[in-house]
Symmetry: C2
Subunit: 204 residues, 2 copies
DNA sequence: GTCTATAACTCGATAGAC
DNA sequence: GTCTATCGAGTTATAGAC
């Protein structure tokens, strides 16, 4: 039961390599050999640590999704106005996606492949505190702070505007002829543009 | 060289089945056997009509993308104000995606898998008339009709708000606990909400 | 724990009869 | 054109030595 802990342990190297390969090629496109090569270990070790490709994938998928949420949850659970939360959310989210720009399309695609299975595995029993957000929106509507708006529309707008450009990046760059650096600059600008856009649409 | 043209020809049935399977499972996830079954023909016939899986995929992919664009192109090329074009685009686009809601995530994912190859195959030499749109935006900015805005930001906003909800549909439904019918109603509402949102952000 | 070798199986592709 | 049968490459997974 004793494992090497010199350098990164084999298990850790596998996890990191598997994440890289699965995110790049998807569940069906990734091969165990690719992962073994990236981890610089033997293929058989993958099965020693994680019984099967599917188990390994599940581990990676959970990890990927959960690494994506906690900071965002903090914002929703905090004690701020909707306006403040929207602004914090967009800035935080864009910065976070920038670090792992291929994660959104990976998650979206895999969930579309097997929605019931994966959605359950992602959150188990506790979902992100969207209900808190929805409740706050409805409260502030009643208080006359913001215009009547379906909270789901608000959420869709925030997520769409922050995430989609990364998922469509190759198309956008090609179609509109913008460079990598221009794209980065545009995304930086979006950290202020998006909150403005959304807030001005609901502010009374 | 004579082919059966009774009912749908084998070739047509293959194309339709292949589209269904490829869109649902992606290039790597789809199997030729699945496609043959869906088309109710033998696996060998797939190779008779389309030499290989890759060729068949390319055919489907091109068809899928090109079926997605012409109506949209018409709008951009038309002789309207930016405000009118934005409104027409969003309404038209949402209606179109509704008919094939799995197409966006399929296209986004496949392009992320092999960006250079597929982007070229999609448009060959002629890209969608995004440059026309960009030019018009810049013209109307100079004329003082709309606020200074990077045209690419405007395009990203339109595409994001229209497309993303479909790509993230399973997550959105699960996380925010909305039903299929509620989702449909929300998307119908978005046909007017999105243009309002975007136009009010650029109107002087 | 880590490796080599190989079993067991899937899948794209082809040969060849009709 | 359409089918059955089968090949051969590639992949997941396991057995067994060290």
């Amino acid at each position: 039961m004793v494992k090497k802990r010199i350098d990164a342990s084999a298990e850790q190297r596998i996890l990191s390599a598997a994440k890289k390969i699965f995110v790049a090629k998807g569940m069906t496109g990734a091969r165990m050999q690719d992962i073994a090569d990236a981890a610089e270990i033997n293929k058989a070790l993958l099965h020693y640590y994680f019984r099967s490709k599917e188990k390994l994938f599940e581990t990676i998928f959970k990890e990927a999704v959960q690494g994506f949420l906690p900071r965002v949850n903090q914002i929703f659970e905090s004690d701020k106005t909707i306006f403040e939360k929207i602004e914090m959310f967009c800035k935080e989210y864009i910065d976070q996606i920038r670090k792992t720009p291929y994660l959104p399309i990976f998650i979206l695609n895999e969930i579309n492949q097997q929605p019931e299975v994966l959605v359950k595995k992602m959150w188990g029993n506790r979902k992100p505190p969207v209900n808190l957000f929805f409740a706050q929106v409805q409260r502030e509507i009643k208080q006359g702070i913001i215009k009547p708006t379906h909270p789901a529309q608000l959420l869709m707008n925030m997520l769409s505007l922050c995430i989609f450009p990364f998922a469509a990046r190759p198309i956008l760059e090609q179609v509109s002829g913008i460079s990598k650096t221009q794209f980065d600059a545009l995304m930086e600008e979006r950290k202020t543009i998006i909150p403005q856009l959304i807030i001005s649409s609901i502010k009374k």
